[in-house]
C-alpha cells in the first residue's frame, strides 16, 4: 500500500510542474488581451498570390485559424488532436471528402499539396515548420505562407519571398471583428428525417424483442 502511494506521489511530483507551467507560445505574445497581427500569403498553382494582414487577439490562435479568418473558403481534414491537413483553398486543391485530401500525391516523389511555410525571424526566409497549421500557435508579427505546388515531405517549394511589413502595407486587412463563419447548409427534409428515425426505432424494438425471446428457456 505504502509503496503504491509513494509511486503515485513520485509520478505526480514529476508531471505536475510540467503540466502547470505556462504555455511557451503564450509567452511569445507580449500583451495578453491586446490586438496582434499575422501576415498571410496564399500562392496558387498558376503563380497568382493573395496577401492578408489579419488581426487576432486569442493567444491560442493557430495557423489554420489565420487562414480561415482571411475569408477564403478552406476545406481541411481533421486527424484528431488538432492535426489537420488543408485540402483546398479558394477552389484550388482536392475535393475532400469525396476525394482523398492528398489527391495529387501518386508517389512521395510526385506530390502536389498545399504546403505550409513560416518566415524564420532570424533569416527572413521561408522555412517548413515541424508542426502542422492546426497546432502551430501564431506569434505576433508572424508571416505565414501557403503554396499549392509539388512539395516533398520536408517542404522545398515555398511561396515567393515576402516580408511582414510589405504584406501588412499592401495586403487586404482583416479586422478583429470580421466573422470566420462558413455559410450554413440547411438540414435534411423533415419527412425523410421522420421516416429514417422511425425505421431505426423499429429496428431497435425488433432487436430488443428478439433478445428477450432468446433469453427465455425454449
Amino acid at each position: 500500500m505504502r509503496a503504491r502511494a509513494l509511486l503515485v506521489a513520485a509520478i505526480l511530483g514529476t508531471t505536475l510542474p510540467v503540466v502547470a507551467s505556462p504555455h511557451p507560445c503564450a509567452a511569445a505574445t507580449p500583451v495578453p488581451g491586446g490586438v496582434h497581427h499575422a501576415g498571410l500569403v496564399v500562392q496558387f498553382g498558376d503563380g497568382s498570390t493573395r496577401e492578408f494582414c489579419v488581426e487576432f487577439a486569442d493567444p491560442h490562435t493557430t495557423g489554420l485559424d489565420i487562414l480561415r479568418r482571411s475569408g477564403l473558403p478552406v476545406v481541411y481534414q481533421d486527424y484528431g488532436g488538432g492535426n489537420v491537413a488543408v485540402c483546398k483553398i479558394a477552389g484550388e486543391g482536392c475535393d475532400y471528402p469525396k476525394q482523398p485530401c492528398f489527391c495529387r500525391c501518386a508517389q512521395t516523389s510526385d506530390c502536389t499539396f498545399w504546403g505550409y511555410y513560416l518566415v524564420d525571424p532570424k533569416t527572413g526566409s521561408w522555412r517548413f515548420p515541424d508542426v502542422g497549421a492546426g497546432t502551430h500557435e501564431v506569434a505576433d508579427g508572424e508571416l505565414q505562407g501557403w503554396h499549392w505546388g509539388k512539395q516533398s515531405t520536408g517542404g522545398g517549394n515555398p511561396p515567393l519571398p515576402a516580408s511582414m511589413t510589405k504584406v501588412c502595407a499592401n495586403g487586404e486587412k482583416i479586422a478583429l471583428a470580421a466573422a470566420t463563419r462558413a455559410p450554413r447548409k440547411s438540414g435534411p427534409p423533415v419527412a425523410a428525417a421522420i421516416a429514417f428515425g422511425a425505421a431505426l426505432l423499429a429496428l431497435a424494438v425488433f432487436a430488443a424483442r428478439a433478445t428477450r425471446r432468446r433469453g427465455e428457456p425454449s
Binding site: V18, V19, A20, S21, P22, H23, P24, C25, A26, H60, T62, L64, D65, R68, V74, V75, Y76, Q77, D78, G80, G81, G82, N83, V84, Y96, P97, K98, Q107, S109, D110, V131, G134, T135, E137, T180, R181, A182, P183, R184, K185, G187, P188, P189, A192, A193, F196, A199, L200, L203, A204, F206, A207, A208, A210, T211, R214
Partner: protein, 376 residues
C-alpha cells in the same frame, strides 16, 4: 431458425465491411449498425459462442467515447463552440500540446462519426463469428494453408477446454479451503492449469502421430521443400519489386514484381494440388444461401457505386451541418438485414411444407365424425 452456409455468411460479412467502408455518411453508418444489431440479436448462436458480437459492440462504443473525449479536448478546429474548459499546456520540448480550451461540435461530430464506423466494422465481424462455427470457416481455407488452419482450429478448441479445466481446479482448491488472496494466492490455481494444458497437448501430439499425421514419403517431402524454396525466392522478388515500384522505378519494379507474383501463384497452386483432403459432411448450398449471397453482393456493388454521390461523404469541418438523408445512400445499409428477412421466409416455407405433409399423412378425422352424426 434458418441456418445459412458458412460461405454465405462470409459473403454477407464482406459486403457489410465494404458498405461501412464505402458509405461515410453518419446516417448510413447508423442504419448499418442498427441492421447489424438486429442480425446479431436474431442469428447469433446460443451460448458463449454467440456472444462475441455484444462484446464487439461494447468495445466499439467504449473506443468511440474515449476517442471523442480525447480528441475533443486536444483539437480545436471548427466554428461551433460547444463548451470551453480550462486549458493546460505542456512545454514545447514535450511537443507543446495542450489539453482543454474550446471543445467544438465539428471535432466531436467528426470523431463520433469515425468511431461509429469503427464500431460498425467490429460488430459486423462479431456478428459473423457469432453466427458461424469457427471450424467451418477454417475449413474454407485454401488447401496449402491447411496446416495453419489445423493449428488455429486446435488453438480455438483449446481455449474453452482450458477455461473449463481452470474452473474445475478453482472449485477443487476451494473445496480444500484455499482462498485467493493477492498475486501469491493465484499460484495454486495457475500451476495445475498449466500442467493439465501441457498434458493435454502431449496427448494430442501422441494421438496425431498414431494416426500418421505429417508423415510423407521421400519424393513428396523433396517436392515440398522445393516448393517452399520457390515461395521464399518469389516473396523476395515481390518485396524488392514493390519497394522499387513505390520509389518510382516503374520498369525495374515491374520486371521483378510480375515474375515474382507469377512464381508465387504457381508454387501455391502446386502445393495445393499435393494436399489431398476429403470433407466430412460438406455444407450444401441451398436456395436461401444463394439468395443471401446475391443480396449481399448487390448491396455492396450499389454502395461502391454510390461513392460517386456527394451524399455518401460527410466532413464535419469547418462548420458542422446535418448529413444528407438521400435514400440512395441511407437506405442501402438496411439490405444487411437479409439474413433475418430471408431466414424468416425460408422457415415459414419449411413450416408450411411440414403442415402440408402432416395433413397428407393423417387424414382429417372430421368426415368420420360427420358420418357418425348422419347415422344417428
Amino acid at each position: 431458425v434458418t441456418r445459412f452456409a458458412t460461405s454465405a455468411w462470409l459473403v454477407w460479412f464482406a459486403s457489410a465491411a465494404a458498405l461501412v467502408f464505402a458509405l461515410q455518411n453518419p446516417f448510413a453508418t447508423l442504419a448499418a449498425l442498427a441492421a447489424l444489431v438486429v442480425v446479431g440479436a436474431t442469428c447469433a448462436r446460443r451460448g458463449p459462442e454467440g456472444a462475441s458480437w455484444t462484446l464487439m459492440l461494447k468495445i466499439g462504443l467504449a473506443a468511440l467515447v474515449a476517442r471523442v473525449v480525447l480528441f475533443g479536448l486536444t483539437g480545436h478546429p471548427g466554428d461551433t463552440t460547444l463548451l470551453t474548459v480550462p486549458r493546460i499546456g505542456a512545454p514545447a520540448w514535450l511537443g507543446g500540446f495542450s489539453i482543454g480550451g474550446r471543445v467544438t461540435a465539428e471535432v466531436v461530430g467528426e470523431h463520433a462519426a469515425e468511431g461509429l464506423r469503427i464500431t460498425a466494422l467490429l460488430v459486423s465481424g462479431g456478428v459473423f463469428l457469432s453466427a458461424v462455427e469457427v471450424h467451418r470457416v477454417l475449413r474454407m481455407l485454401p488447401r496449402f494453408l491447411f496446416e495453419f488452419g489445423l493449428v488455429v482450429g486446435i488453438g480455438i478448441a483449446f481455449v474453452p477446454m482450458m477455461l473449463r479445466s481452470a474452473a474445475d481446479i478453482r472449485d477443487a482448491q476451494r473445496v480444500r479451503g484455499h482462498r485467493i488472496r493477492g498475486v501469491r494466492g493465484l499460484r495454486p490455481l495457475i500451476l495445475p492449469v498449466l500442467a493439465t494444458a501441457l498434458e493435454r497437448s502431449l496427448l494430442l501430439a501422441e494421438s496425431m502421430e498414431a494416426r500418421g499425421y505429417g508423415r510423407t514419403t521421400g519424393e513428396a517431402s523433396r517436392r515440398e521443400a522445393r516448393a517452399r524454396a520457390a515461395i521464399f525466392v518469389a516473396l523476395l522478388a515481390i518485396a524488392g519489386g514493390g519497394a522499387l515500384l513505390l520509389a518510382g522505378e516503374t520498369l525495374a519494379g515491374a520486371a521483378l514484381f510480375v515474375p515474382g507474383a507469377t512464381a508465387l501463384g504457381g508454387a501455391l497452386l502446386r502445393m495445393s494440388r499435393a494436399v489431398h483432403r476429403t470433407r466430412h459432411r460438406p455444407e450444401r448450398m441451398r436456395a436461401h444461401d444463394v439468395a443471401l449471397i446475391a443480396s449481399s453482393v448487390a448491396a455492396a456493388a450499389w454502395a461502391l457505386g454510390a461513392r460517386a454521390l456527394d451524399a455518401a461523404h460527410w466532413n464535419a469541418h469547418p462548420a458542422i451541418a446535418w448529413p444528407s438523408l438521400d435514400a440512395r445512400v441511407v437506405a442501402v445499409p438496411f439490405a444487411l438485414l437479409a439474413p433475418v428477412v430471408i431466414g424468416a421466409f425460408a422457415s415459414a416455407r419449411v413450416r408450411r411444407a411440414s403442415i402440408d405433409a402432416d395433413a397428407r399423412e393423417a387424414p382429417a378425422p372430421a368426415p368420420a365424425r360427420a358420418s357418425v352424426g348422419a347415422a344417428s
